[in-house]
């Protein structure tokens, strides 16, 4: 079943509106949500795929109508609850409590060592690149088809290219496989590829001319065409 996030190719929605001189965050709570997420990801309480998956589980209409960091709150809660560090009842109760005692301080604790570690990770990055022994199955220029199966859960194959033919445009490294990583079922790295799909193949009649889409995929998303 496709999930809420898989929206590439919808037309008719409103215009894209660029905000002039947009701040990095629009409010203090957005700052905190971002920072809390980075800090709890950094503690290993969940991984990036699990973070994404918690957003994708939001029903599609409220997904579309809520703001970006509102969706982060949802997945933050989902993942903290799944990690067992807090319960939804606790969050509910604390929310009520704070609402009745406005201005209550949220408290503070310091962890200088973790803090330095996290900042150096942010500075250095953490690549999902891994070594794999298996040879590549495809080479540049190969015609491929995006696997047409509908994933049951988290996947990084956009729906709009499923079942469509394209050409391998670039060979990428092997990266940790999202479908298993999200389940905590191992990294199972696979070779990755960038595949070029022609617009008329993807969108059919009415596609804009000369506007191919390049999609990055794991090897098991592809079959030979």
């Amino acid at each position: 079943m496709a999930r809420a996030h898989d929206i590439g190719g919808l037309k008719g929605l409103g215009p894209v509106e660029i905000e002039r001189d947009e701040p990095v965050f629009h409010s203090e709570w957005e700052q905190r949500v971002f920072g809390i997420t980075m800090a709890t990801l950094g503690k290993g309480l969940y991984n990036v795929e699990q973070f994404r998956s918690g957003i994708e589980e939001i029903p599609i209409v409220p997904y579309m109508e809520s703001s970006y960091y509102e969706r982060w709150i949802v997945t933050l809660e989902t993942n903290l609850i799944r990690a067992g560090v807090v319960s939804e009842d606790e969050i509910d109760a604390r929310t009520v409590e704070l609402s009745r005692h406005p201005g209550t301080d949220v408290g503070r604790r310091e962890e200088a060592e973790f803090c330095e570690m996290l900042l150096s990770v942010i500075q250095a990055g953490v690549s999902p690149e891994r070594d794999v022994e298996a040879p590549r199955r495809f080479e540049s220029g190969d015609r491929v088809i995006a696997a047409g199966t509908t994933a049951a859960g988290h996947t990084r194959l956009p729906r709009y290219v499923r079942g469509k033919q394209g050409v391998v445009a670039r060979l990428d490294k092997a990266f940790v496989y999202p479908e298993t990583n999200v389940e905590g079922a191992g990294e199972n790295p696979e070779w990755c590829y960038c595949v070029r799909f022609e617009a008329d193949e993807v969108w059919g009649d009415g596609a804009e001319a000369g506007a191919p889409v390049y999609v990055d995929v794991w090897e098991s998303y592809l079959e030979p065409a």
């Binding site: 203090e28 800090a39 690549s127 191919p212």
Partner: protein, 197 residues
Amino acid sequence: MGHDHDPISYPNLRTQAIESLLVEKGILASDAVDRVVSAYEEDIGPLNGARVVARAWSDGRYKTRLLENATGAIAELGISGMQGENMVALENTAEVHNVVVCTLCSCYPWPVLGLPPYWYKSPEYRARVVVEPRAVLAELGLEIDESRELRVWDSSAEIRYMVLPERPAGTDELAEDQLAELVSRDSMIGVAEARTP
């Protein structure tokens, strides 16, 4: 009116509840939250990407390295980090214009561009730019001639993209730091051209 405080939004209230509980349970490092936020507010932003573009405009060999191994070339300028571990640079030319999206979430090259702007994360941009890219860019004031291929890059896996915009005319005399001032965030996503001086 019986109110001693301003209204609070529910997401704000809920975030406070989460932070308060995590602090109480000894799970959250408040200083880490503060410093991560200020790192992205103050240090990590599109000026980094502008330096990369300006260098590529000024130094042909650097540009070659950037297009061949973007991660390495970017690291030459001391720029690296989370969500920039595997970079690819896309060169705009007279024949090709590139535009970047992440339809599935909002993947974005943080070390070179900072955190993404709201419009990049919006359902409207993510849904529409793959299927009607010329229309979306036109709405944003960028008409791409039909003779020019418009490539849309959906960063659905682990590569993070930055666009290398065309160097504007009339900039032959400019120094690298002056060139960098012409490079907007939006030009490195592909929804704008670089500014002319």
